[in-house]
């Protein structure tokens, strides 16, 4: 039983990380129907910038907590600038291009960002400074740390804040209008360019936050870390119904739980035939099954023809 609880905790934390990244995907997708494939790379840049800034400040003698906060702030700012730049350079000129075109630029940007990061930070794995004191808890035989609790809380709070932003503010209203129909929204006096830029900037800030969380949790970083993470998070976003904030959150957590429980139990249930080597498959299989019955994801609204 303690194993089951432990697996739930594992899945929940992993899922919250997916969710935090998935929120960034869904934010952009919800407003302009674009898969920002480079989002995983934004997360990576967020982590690496934090390492550099916090590492430098800690060396300079600043208390770890403050150094961490400073690192977070700088990396959020850098990523916001990066998100704004991405939108400006790679996506805005293509707003009226065929639908696959921005997908290719996104892939191109993702390659560019990875290699820039490799030139700046090198090829080696980097260690992320321990920003939070490692406080461990034990409950009914299950181990968990303060970092894990914080990750779950941060992603839940982030989602709530985003929901507030979308449904309770003027910017949110403009975003919803843009997502419904950009042409009409602009006739109603919504500055489409500004709204879309805002979506990218907010999405990228979330990416930076996610990057710092990932770094704090695993304490390692690498210039290619964004790719798989981005992919999983994207899967989570689609699972929950892409474009839907609560869906992204739940999709992420669901994905995390599926992976943890799948790795934990399916091997024994199938006599070792489908063990943890098929961990990645469980997630995709659930996705396929869900989409077969609910083609717009678990919580996705029935959008019209996106293709």
């Amino acid at each position: 039983m303690d194993i089951f609880l432990q697996q739930i905790i594992n899945g929940l934390v992993q899922g919250s990380i997916y969710a935090l990244v998935a929120l960034g995907y869904t934010m952009v997708y919800g407003i302009m129907g674009l898969i920002n494939f480079a989002h995983g790379e934004v997360v990576m840049i967020g982590t690496l910038v934090t390492i550099s800034v916090a590492g430098f400040l800690i060396k300079a003698g600043m208390p770890v907590m403050f150094a961490g906060l400073a690192g977070l702030t700088v990396s959020v700012l850098v990523c916001m600038a990066l998100g704004w730049g991405l939108e400006r350079v790679a996506y805005r000129p293509l707003r009226n291009a065929p639908r696959l075109t921005p997908l290719i630029t996104a892939i191109g940007m993702s390659i560019v960002l990875q290699n820039v990061a490799m030139i700046i930070w090198g090829r080696n794995y980097l260690t992320f400074p321990a920003l939070l004191p490692s406080v461990a808890f034990e409950f009914a035989g299950a181990h968990f740390t303060a970092v894990q609790v914080i990750i779950v809380l941060v992603s839940a709070l982030t989602m709530l804040a985003l929901l507030f932003l979308i449904y309770r503010t003027r910017l949110g209203m403009a975003m919803r209008a843009t997502s419904q129909n950009p042409a009409v929204a602009s006739l109603m006096g919504v500055n489409i360019n500004r709204v879309i830029a805002a979506a990218f900037i907010i999405g990228s800030a979330l990416g930076a936050l996610a990057g710092v969380m990932v770094g704090t949790y695993y304490e390692i970083a690498h210039y290619q870390m964004g790719f798989m993470l981005g992919l999983k998070a994207f899967t989570a976003a689609v699972l929950g119904g892409i474009g839907n904030l609560a869906g992204a959150m739940l999709g992420g957590i669901l994905l995390g739980l599926i992976e943890a429980l799948g790795a934990g139990y399916i091997g024994d249930l199938t006599g070792g035939f489908l063990g943890s080597h098929y961990q990645d498959i469980f997630a995709f299989l659930v996705l396929i099954v869900v989409l077969m019955f609910k083609p717009s994801g678990l919580f996705g609204e029935k959008t019209g023809d996106r293709a």
């Binding site: 790679a90 293509l94 291009a97 696959l100 390659i111 560019v112 290699n115 689609v238 989409l291 293709a307």
Partner: protein, 356 residues
Amino acid sequence: MSKWLNPRSAFGLTLIIVALLALPFVAALGGQAWVRILNFAILYVFLALGLNIVVGFAGLLDLGYIAFYAVGAYTYALLASPHFGLHWPFWVILPCGAAIACFFGVILGSPTLKLRGDYLAIVTLGFGEIVRIFMNNLNAPINITNGAQGITLIDPVAIGDLRFSTTTHILGVSLSGPQKYYYLLLALAILVIVINLRLQNSRIGRAWQAIREDEIAAKAVGINTRNLKLLAFAMGASFGGVAGGVFSAMQGFVSPESFSLIESIMILAMVVLGGMGHIPGVILGAVLLSILPEALRYGVGPIQMAVFGKMLVDPESLRMLIFGLALVLVMRFKPAGLWPSPERKRAAPAAGASHG
């Protein structure tokens, strides 16, 4: 088709054919490695044209195309290597590979028929990963694929005593292994191009186009969208299967790491960069994207040395950086691809309106 048949084009065509036949000898002047690079370029032309049927003609965004390539490659590897002790000739295996890949195309295609756009993309991506993961793990309980270790000592293509892996001398001309594969690939590629051209202008091709532009309208005019979409998956998959078989024979070794997601993305990039749905464009895209990284590999280092007098940035990282930038810039200035089809060029500005 008719464009190719008038006399002026016929002359052009002859010129192209002569150039293509002479190419491996010209390339060999720069070393056999260039012939090998050319071979991979043709292999990618092959794959890109296969994917073009799915993405370009029928408008189905497929991010797991590499799975069919993998199926073809493993079919060849298992039927012509000491792994199972089978050594079938290539002209039996290639059609087998195509058929098996085609079967997979239908199996993987059928659950995705209801899905649109990005949902389809992520599901096909999932399928691609599932196939790769299975190949990586099917060494237990029964050893089928030999897992991550891959399959070695795969037979090269051989016609009678003419083995494609070694250099032979015919009529005083010495023909290296890669050069022979070049001609085999060229022949297959021409076959695929002809099939593509024929398909494009057939009833099926026009029906696909109708589905791509507006699926609901296509259904309304009586097109069986389900069967036609499956057909697109199946056709695309069989091309992938054949390409995989040739890859297997040429390499003599397959392992699952050759069939990762990034390969699928690469092939998609070729199709889109060249000009979706437009056959010459897709060929251009495939040739460019497969040769560009190699050309950069030779160019980046020496240029840096010449300009700055020292290596500022590691040539390898700069190479990929330039590659990524090229993708972004081409799309920025030619959103419909480098060589889009005439009608697509016209339609391009309107496409954005569907982002509802």
